[in-house]
């Protein structure tokens, strides 16, 4: 096993073209994700955090810098980086829960036949959806759909799980429950996850390491540790520190997150 970082993002600048002009989403962003990290990218809207995740996913190519996974540059999307999106429509509506998870395994060539189904059912069980395995996505609640997407991502047993604000479209109670469950899953399997969010509370709760980005374009402001509870162990609050770092002097009266 290599001792270096699992994922290395090095001086990455990302741009995307709109109709009028070229927008720079991030400017020379760099960070390293270690094995079993719960690495959170946090920033206001417009800081390019989702674009970074898409670049790691291989959907966007950096105009500058490089992204290395296990020391190898990323070249297009691949099943070694399973993506969990924010949108509920990431599940194939014409497939049941079981088929949705199995589909990922078979179409990527990871497993076939009974083995694929068995592994799919194992991970569906992990997200507590076994009784719903034969249901179609449209009969599930939003939280359940996201659980299926997480099960699908985890079933790939990828090098890294990429989560793009997966709980943002959920109601507050469900979101809180999902965060808890995600941490429980992590305790069991210690997977590596790169998690994007705009919620400070969520970042503090989910992450063990938090990357703070500024907006327009996204640049790294800080990279801090989190213990999972909102306390830095020195009597201060992590979210207050994040607040100060992100908004500086203008923190007064600035809404914390959207």
């Amino acid at each position: 096993m290599t001792t270096g970082p699992l994922l290395e993002v090095d001086g990455v600048t990302l741009q995307y073209a709109t109709q009028q002009h070229l927008t720079t989403a991030t400017y020379r962003v760099g960070f390293q994700v270690l094995r079993s990290d719960r690495f959170v990218i946090l920033g206001p809207s417009g800081c390019g955090k989702s674009t970074i995740l898409k670049a790691v996913g291989g959907f966007v190519t950096p105009v500058e810098g490089r992204i290395l996974l296990r020391g190898r540059p990323i070249d297009g999307p691949g099943p070694d980086r399973a993506f969990v999106f924010q949108e509920f429509d990431q599940l194939l509506p014409w497939k049941t829960v079981r088929e949705n998870v199995t589909f990922a395994l078979t179409s990527s060539g990871t497993l076939a036949g009974k083995e694929a189904v068995d592994r799919a059912m194992h991970y569906i069980g992990k997200v507590n959806l076994t009784p719903f395995a034969d249901r179609y996505p449209h009969t599930l609640s939003g939280g359940m759909k996201q659980r299926v997407a997480i099960a699908r991502g985890m079933a790939m047993e990828p090098d890294i799980l990429l989560m793009d604000e997966p709980f943002a479209a959920l109601d507050a109670l469900t979101r809180s429950r999902m965060q808890e469950d995600l941490l429980e899953l992590w305790e069991e399997t210690r997977f590596t996850v790169l998690f994007v969010t705009h919620s400070i509370d969520e970042a503090v709760r989910i992450g063990n390491r938090i990357l703070l980005l500024s907006a327009h374009p996204g640049r790294v402001k800080a990279e801090i540790n989190s213990s999972g509870t909102d306390s830095d162990g020195r009597g201060g609050s992590i979210s207050d520190r994040i607040h100060a770092l992100l908004f500086g002097d203008e923190a007064e009266g600035d809404p914390s997150d959207g």
Binding site: G57, G58, F59, G76, P77, G78, P79, R81, A82, F83, F85, E87, D89, Q90, L92, P93, W94, F103, A104, S107, S108, G109, Y136, P137, H138, T139, M156
Partner: protein
């Protein structure tokens, strides 16, 4: 009442939820009410009322040439079926329809594939389809007769025109409406371009494709009956349109009604049996259409 007092303070309440929720018995519904709650029953009742009105008007008018009674039309339908004349005409029409429909679908599939792969193909489809789509297919018949002469080929040409644009346009729109998230999901799990088309694009676009198939079928059916009316028989045998036209010439109005009823029945049958059951098994089950 004091203005600033607000609601009085109450003690907080806590309950222990222990008892399981029992079966809630449905409210009993009377037989008549249950009958009337079924859409099929209501529609059958309406049809029966219409038949009675038709029968009454026919008897009151008492002119079999102008407006035969419902029972006379049904009788003509039964005897035409028994004599084999109507089934023969219907079979002729349907085999022609299937040929034209199938040819139209193949062309639509080719056109849509090209349109979803290349930009110029998409431009071509959008331009040509928007040009030809508003043109009633039956208007192409004179041209078809010049090109192909009197015969099956002219009719098939017109049918292709009826099916092609509706299906291709809908399928194309369906492919474009497949969400970018699903596209990324397909890429994420390493689907090949062909695998992506087969496993994501086609099922994702299926609601629109099905709409196209239905619209195309309806266009083809109307066009075919009209074409047969205009041009009668093709070498010996004729279809339903010819059946209707022929009996009008013989002033056999009850049989004209029998022909029209057959056209209606086939339309209903295909719409309600074939397309409905496809819909129930696919887009409805998947929740992609209410």
């Amino acid at each position: 009442m004091a203005e600033t007092a607000g609601a009085p303070e109450r003690p907080e309440l806590f309950y222990e939820i222990t008892d399981t929720v029992g079966e809630v018995a449905p409210r009993p519904v009377g037989g008549w009410r249950r009958y009337w709650d079924s859409a099929t029953a209501r529609k059958i009742t309406l049809l029966a009322v219409l038949a009675v009105v038709w029968e009454g008007y026919g008897r009151w008018l008492d002119d079999a040439l102008l407006f035969p009674t419902f029972s006379a039309a049904v009788g003509a339908l039964a005897s035409s079926i028994a004599s084999g004349e109507l089934p023969g005409a219907a079979a002729f029409t349907i085999q022609l329809l299937l040929k034209g429909y199938a040819a139209g679908l193949v062309l639509a599939a080719i056109l849509t594939s090209v349109a979803s792969v290349t930009r110029i193909g998409a431009d071509f489809l959008e331009t040509v389809a928007s040009m030809f789509n508003p043109l009633p297919s039956i208007a192409m018949l004179p041209l078809a007769l010049i090109w192909f002469g009197i015969g099956e080929n002219a009719i098939i040409f017109v049918l292709i025109h009826a099916v092609l644009w509706a299906v291709a346009l809908n399928a194309h729109a369906g492919c474009r409406s497949v969400s970018p998230t699903l596209r990324m999901v397909g890429l994420n799990y390493g689907l090949s371009p062909f695998g992506y088309i087969r496993r994501i694009l086609l099922p994702g676009a299926f609601p629109s494709i099905l709409t196209g198939l239905k619209v195309g079928w309806a266009f083809a059916w109307r066009t075919l009956i009209a074409a047969e009316l205009v041009f009668g028989t093709t070498g010996g045998s004729g279809g339903l349109g010819w059946f209707i036209y022929n009996h009008r010439n013989q002033l056999n109005t009850a049989n004209v009604f029998a022909g029209l009823l057959t056209v209606i029945l086939f339309g209903l049958l295909v719409e309600n049996l074939i397309f409905k059951s496809i819909e129930n098994r696919t887009v409805r089950r998947w929740g992609m259409q209410a």
